[in-house]
């Protein structure tokens, strides 16, 4: 399935892109992370610390074991620092 992946903040910088579109068979967030981490050394660095990784599926927070389902837009980012 074709999915849009967005990166924010330090993850965007490490990956070197704000967005990429991928064709993937991954069924869960964790599987997609493993797949992307293998894509390049920059991706591997971005996904090195899973404890500091946050994810949203179609703009709703999701954990690593969440099924990707029909989500079109999958975002990865570090812990948030608003306020």
């Amino acid at each position: 399935m074709r999915r849009d992946i967005l990166y924010f903040a330090s993850l965007r910088e490490r990956v070197g892109a704000a967005r990429e579109t991928v064709e993937t068979e991954a069924a869960t967030v964790r599987e997609l992370v493993a797949e992307r981490a293998a894509a390049s050394p920059a991706h591997a660095a971005a996904f090195a610390d899973l404890k500091a990784l946050r994810c949203a599926l179609d703009q709703q927070f999701a954990d690593l074991d969440a099924p990707l389902g029909e989500a079109r837009e999958i975002a990865f980012f570090p812990p948030m620092t608003g306020g």
């Binding site: 330090s10 975002a75 980012f77 570090p78 620092t81 608003g82």
Partner: protein, 144 residues
């Protein structure tokens, strides 16, 4: 009852206008860019357009439900904000003060670690680093 994300400054009095209707108490909080190191020039704030607005509106609606707020407002800025600039504000209006204080504190605690904003510190001279999330901000959510 509104949440906004913008680069422009806001005028607190304008944001509070109208929130007194039906209320007996109105609490507002304004966050300001603070220089802890003595060499900070500005913060750069990034956010997730679309998701941010949705998350803020959800937290506002939840605060209104939990604390029976008569009104609320959230404004959060993004982009480059120099030391001393106002970053964001929340306001909570209710019949009585405890609900208004609690509503404002609840909104702040959720906004700190559950709204998709990221801060980067820019020093005088240009060195930049991402602000790390604090465990204490995450822990603050457990009280709700």
């Amino acid at each position: 009852m509104s949440a906004r994300v913008q680069t422009a400054p806001f005028v607190l009095a304008d944001e509070l206008a109208g929130l007194e209707a039906g209320a007996g108490a109105l609490v507002s909080f304004t966050g300001i860019v603070r220089d802890d190191s003595g060499r900070l020039e500005a913060l750069e704030i990034e956010h997730y357009p679309g998701m941010t607005e949705r998350a803020l509106a959800d937290y506002g609606a939840e605060a209104a439900r939990r604390f029976q707020l008569t009104g609320w407002r959230i404004v959060h800025r993004f982009g480059r904000l120099p030391v001393g600039a106002e970053i964001m504000m929340v306001a909570a209006a209710a019949r009585h003060r405890h609900a208004a204080f609690d509503g404002a504190a609840y909104l702040m605690d959720w906004l700190k670690s559950r709204a998709p904003f990221w801060k980067r510190e820019i020093d005088v001279g240009g060195a930049a680093r991402w602000v790390e999330a604090k465990d204490s901000d995450e822990a603050a959510l457990t009280r709700w």
